[in-house]
């Protein structure tokens, strides 16, 4: 049975970061990611500064300094895609790899570029991890609404989040039922058995769809019975306070400094 906490990355703490207005956190996250992408290739000092920024936020949010670090290697497999930059940026050669009859020349700018891409991606993921660890998802959505994301989209996402766990439970039940009822053919898969399995999977998905669709009917009627007419309300008004503006300004200044360091220092 999938509990709501299975999908919830929020960690409850009483920290200054947790208490920050969600808008500031979202904006700083996006600006941080943007800042990293704007830094030139090989701006190691600035990237170090960015990492210190992350560590500082981790510490201030009472999550532990290594919190984001431990979870940050999610995007690593995608790094293989960028491997080709090692060979495709022209410049002074570093080493030459001989693979069978192929000759792959790793260039210095290629290596710099590859490592920079990895760094940017790694830092951005950590910032996103910190965002959802310190901000409850409904608050994130509310912040998006304040930041002029269309209300329809935010409402759809709100409903989706609300029913994610319900429907995932449903899907897991269907999968468990399949496990307990269908005999799996042993041995190598023939196209026929793959097609049969796909047919089964499609039936599962179709069942899930029908249950979801009919459930949404009941949900809508229930909400109408409770006074829903299109807008979702929250208890917390999420007003910006002076300290939110202050911390936002500090964050912005730090990022600007990182940009200066990255662009003007060797």
């Amino acid at each position: 049975m999938m509990h709501i906490s299975a999908f919830d990355s929020y960690r409850l703490r009483k920290s200054p970061i947790h208490l920050l207005n969600a808008r500031i956190k979202v904006i700083i996250t996006v600006l941080f990611i943007l800042s990293n992408v704007l830094l030139p290739d090989g701006a190691w000092l600035a990237f170090l500064g960015s990492w210190l920024f992350i560590l500082a936020i981790s510490a201030f949010s009472r999550l532990g300094i290594g919190y984001a670090f431990k979870r940050s290697f999610v995007a690593l497999p995608f790094a293989l895609v960028a491997l080709t930059t090692l060979f495709s940026v022209p410049g002074p050669a570093l080493t030459t790899l001989h693979l069978a009859s192929w000759q792959l020349v790793v260039t210095e700018p290629g290596l710099v570029r590859f490592l920079t891409i990895l760094l940017r991606s790694w830092l951005s993921v950590q910032m996103a991890i910190l965002l959802v660890a310190t901000t409850q998802f409904p608050d994130v959505l509310h912040a998006l609404r304040h930041l002029y994301v269309p209300g329809v989209l935010v409402s759809i996402i709100s409903f989706m989040y609300r029913y994610l766990f319900v429907l995932s439970d449903e899907a897991l039940r269907l999968l468990r039922a399949r496990e307990s009822r269908s005999a799996r053919a042993v041995g190598p898969k023939s196209p026929l058995s793959v097609a049969r399995e796909a047919h089964q999977a499609g039936n599962l998905a179709g069942q899930l769809f029908l249950r979801s669709y009919e459930r949404s009917d009941r949900i809508y009627n229930a909400m109408q019975a409770r006074g829903y007419y299109g807008t979702l309300f929250t208890l917390h008004p999420h007003q910006m306070q002076a300290k939110d503006w202050l911390i936002g300004a500090i964050g912005l200044a730090l990022l600007a400094m990182l940009q200066l360091v990255g662009h003007f220092l060797p």
Binding site: S9, T29, V30, I33, L34, N36, V37, V74, A75, F78, L80, V81, A82, T84, T85, F87, S88, P90, A93, W102, Q103, L104, R120, S121, W122, L123, S124, A128, I129, V132, P150, V152, L153, I156, I157, F159, M160, Y163, L164, V166, L167, S168, E170, L172, K189, V194, H199, Q200, A201, G202, N203, A205, G206, L208, F209, S212, R215, S216, I219, Y220
Partner: protein, 324 residues
């Protein structure tokens, strides 16, 4: 999310932050934002407040449905991306909003895909897939069951291929990858993934058509309104099918066009020094995979053209059948 064995994971379509340049990321955001705003405007109406819970639940459905798998070969299993399916079931605009929501939640909550590049991810996995899925299906929505299912399957496969193509192009234009290596790899892998997508899409659609056909989106009264989608879908498919083999076989031509249009700097292309320093690696593999991609592309082009010709021919001679 498409789960394959770890080796193939880098070729999943959620692009993380840092892999696209600012220009490309912003460009994709602009395109995505325009289309999303359009979708919101189109789904607004007298029943819009009813539609929002429905679309939210449908988004949760797509997310949950992506967990339903079936074993394909070795340790891999086929999964659903859902763009074509969502568009066929819910209609194009609702399908687009639903897929966008799924991708946004995946990016925000699970870090599956970056935040700055989310516009590109929505474009690749939500918009392109929905357009192709709905466009092709709409053309045969009033035909026989078998034709509808076949076209839905082809549309699902094509949607995955188109998503892979656009993803590769974005990565290349950002200077992150070299096209001649990544494009054939992406296309070949997603040709296989697309088969899984096609199978589940067809099976799901068949189930729904069998049990509750009344729930499927386009009614007969919208026969005229759907034609633009069909045209747009077919144009996109043809572009994808022409671009993929050409770009795979001769990426230099594409690079030259990109340089002329100012998309990539000259230093990123194969200068004469680069070609001298290494022979283009995996010559054997690349040819084979591009030939395979090209063959598959050509085959599907032929099938699509046959379908289109029959479609146009029948529309002239017969009146549309009544809805099932």
């Amino acid at each position: 999310m498409i789960y394959t064995s770890t080796l193939l994971k880098p070729l999943a379509m959620h692009i993380p932050d840092g892999f696209l340049s600012v220009t490309i990321a912003i460009l994709c955001w602009v395109i995505t934002a325009i289309i999303l705003l359009l979708a919101i405007a189109r789904t607004r109406g007298e029943f819009s407040e009813r539609q929002i819970p429905l679309m939210g639940v449908m988004a949760a459905f797509i997310f949950a449905a992506q967990m339903i798998n079936f074993p394909v070969a070795g340790g891999t299993s086929g999964h659903l991306l859902g763009g074509a399916l969502a568009a066929i079931i819910l209609g194009p605009w609702a399908g687009i909003l639903v897929m966008a929501s799924v991708i946004i939640v995946q990016g925000l909550l699970f870090q599956d895909g970056g935040l700055l590049v989310m516009g590109a991810n929505i474009l690749n996995m939500g918009l392109v897939t929905a357009l192709i899925g709905y466009g092709l299906y709409r053309g045969v929505a009033s035909r026989s069951l078998h034709l509808r299912l076949s076209v839905a399957g082809i549309a699902a496969w094509l949607s995955v291929m188109a998503g892979a193509l656009v993803t590769s192009l974005q990565l290349w234009l950002s200077g992150t990858v070299s096209l001649k290596i990544v494009l054939p790899a992406m296309l070949t892998v997603h040709a296989l993934i697309g088969i899984g997508e096609a199978l589940i899409t067809v099976a799901t659609l068949a189930f729904i058509l069998r049990t509750r056909p009344d729930l499927l989106a386009p009614g007969e009264g919208q026969a005229r309104a759907g034609r633009g989608w069909v045209v747009a879908g077919i144009i996109l498919v043809v572009l994808v099918l022409l671009l993929s083999p050409i770009a795979s076989i001769n990426p230099d031509g594409l690079e030259r066009v990109a340089i002329d249009l100012g998309f990539i700097r000259h230093s990123q292309t194969a200068s004469s020094g680069l070609l001298r320093d290494y022979t283009i690696p995996f010559l054997g593999k690349t040819s084979l995979s591009t030939i395979l991609s090209g063959l598959m592309g050509a085959l599907v082009v032929v099938v699509v053209i046959i379908l289109v010709v029959r479609l146009v021919g029948r529309r002239r001679s017969q009146s549309p059948k009544s809805p099932k």
